[in-house]
């Protein structure tokens, strides 16, 4: 029924063509890959794959399809996640019929559209983004397990030695090291060792 209303509005606008519909997230993902639409409107609450998961796949595969998230959740953290996933529109179901047309045309041109009821969250997001850029990745991002590994890296131990000492497999140690490097934005084992030595006293 909800889709009916939406369909009516979209089909009523000569600028748009409705190329397909899907009943769940998986079907939507398949259809998007096949039809490569300009714009995909995804409900957050979809069976099998959620709307955000489909958006994440579109982003990862770098498809040209622009995503509009449709939801009844009026929640800031959800919008933030959606924007992190590169979506171009976030439309609340409350105002879907009136908002969707603007959302589609804006998204199709590469712009961003947010339902007026949630656009206030954008201000918070700007602050949050600023804070995030100012904040440098650091030790507090590491898990307890990663700190354990790092402590042994600081003792200049090899992955094999660390693995033996902690009773885990060397591959696990390697995976932890890779994760630590990613989190701290370090490249190569030398810079990891250097970081470990420099910060030895703080973990």
């Amino acid at each position: 029924m909800f889709c009916n209303g939406l369909r009516q509005v979209i089909q009523g606008d000569p600028r748009f063509e409705l190329v397909g519909e899907a009943a769940d997230g998986e079907a939507a993902w398949l259809a998007i890959q096949k039809m490569k639409p300009d714009v995909a409107i995804l409900d957050v609450n979809l069976p099998k794959l959620t709307g955000l998961e489909v958006a994440a796949r579109i982003q990862k595969k770098r498809l040209s399809t622009r995503v509009i998230i449709l939801t009844m959740f009026k929640e800031e953290d959800l919008i933030n996640r959606a924007l992190d996933l590169g979506v171009n529109g976030f439309v609340l179901k409350d105002n879907a019929v009136t908002d969707i047309v603007n959302a589609i045309s804006t998204a199709a041109e590469g712009g961003h559209y947010l339902s007026p009821a949630v656009s206030g969250f954008l201000v918070n997001r700007r602050n949050r983004t600023t804070a995030l850029t100012l904040r440098k990745p650091g030790l507090e991002d590491l898990t307890k397990a990663e700190c354990r590994i790092l402590r042994l890296v600081a003792e200049n131990k090899t992955s094999r030695a660390i693995a033996a000492e902690l009773g885990i497999s060397p591959r696990t140690v390697e995976a932890h090291r890779a994760n630590i490097c990613t989190k701290l934005n370090l490249h190569g084992s030398h810079s990891l060792l250097q970081f470990a030595l420099e910060n030895r006293s703080s973990f």
Binding site: F2, E75, D77, N95, A145, S169, A175
Partner: protein
Amino acid sequence: MTRDERRRTAQALRESEEKCSKAFRASPDGMAVSEVATGRYVEVNEGYCTLCGYRREEMIGHTALELGIWRMPPERERFVAELRQRGVVRNFPMVMGTRAGGLRHILLNAESIMLGDNPCLVSVLHDVTDRLEAEQALRESEEKFSKAFRTSPDVMSIVDQESGKYLEVNEAHEKTFGFKREEVLGHSPTELGIFDNPVQRDAIQAKLKATGSLRGLEIVTHNRRGESLTCLLSAEVIELGGRKCVLRVAHDITGYKRAEAERQEAVSREQEARIEYTLQLIAAQEAERKRIAAELHDGVGQNILLIRNLAQQVLLAPVPESVREQLATIDHLAGLCIADVRQISRDLRPYQLDHLGLKRALEAMLEHAAQASSMRFTSRLESVDDLFRSEAALNLYRIVQEGVNNILKHSRASRAQVVLERDLRAVELRLEDDGVGFAPERAGKAGLGLRNIAERVRMLGGVLAIRSAPGRGTCIEVKIPIAEAVPVAA
């Protein structure tokens, strides 16, 4: 004999007499010299005076009969007869009367001597009263012991310490193990198959060698039919006729053990049933919450949204002012309804869990808690989203929710901390507050909250530890084992 020789002999005699009289005076035994003809005392020593309670002056010139020292005349007659017959009496048992009216048991030795021309009698009285009394006491105690041994309902035996062979067993032993006394004597419990645990046997022997006794050791024995009997064994090293023996007492607790085991089993069955029931309850509750949330969200919610959108759709076209107002009211009311639906379904099931992951869901919950109270909430949450899927994530979420609710409702804390750490083989969750705490023994009564936490921890295969004391705050620790594999960062 020369004069010198005579002088030396007289000298020796004098010295010898001196020695005799010294020995006479100093002897602890009573000694007396009396005339054979009259029975009168010629000399008594200090020991004799002490023994009968008379002073020396009171005795000299009097007879034992006069003084009442011979209490039993027939005894004296036997003594006199024996003396006449052999000229000497050795270790004659006599009952002596004292001045104070008491009786002493004496061993009497007597011998005739000549003092000048006067035939005299030397008597030595050895007091054995104390020894006899001790012997009597010992006899009585032995009788008591042997009676207790025979009739004890506990299984008792005496074995030789060195060989371990039976020297004596009681009736209970015969009954319990089904061997007659004659069948066991001279054999060891091991030979008879009564006790065949060599490790325990060596331990028992070592303990007895070291300390001489053993108390309440649980052992398993077997009767003649081979049935197991659990006993509490106590043992004591005793000496019997100069031989080191071990007195063993075994208290049969087989029946008690069986009852205890049955009781334990019943308790654990009941506990399991209760856990099972709670788990089902939790699962049912979650399923119901999920169903209602979905119903609200996808049914009621969608329909209200539809109403809202329809109203807005009509408003897009030109309509009369009165209709416009009514539609605006419908839109507004529908908006209020949808806000309610959102709130209710959020309370039922956090949308973050499904769409943003566990960590974000927890963060949102803690932000909410911090806003809703004046407590200082701090948290450190490491990402564990890849470890806990759907139901597991929900369980962990509910654990934190329950814990945070407890803190908000009951702790009266000024500070609270939530830490979720990811270690190599476990995820560790810690909820701490500096509030009023509670006595650990009251943890069981702390209500559904803690029970719910405990059950959910169990569902996650984890371990729960709760530390608290009145006025000392509360710390809830959960440790959930995880697989070692780590996802490589994208």
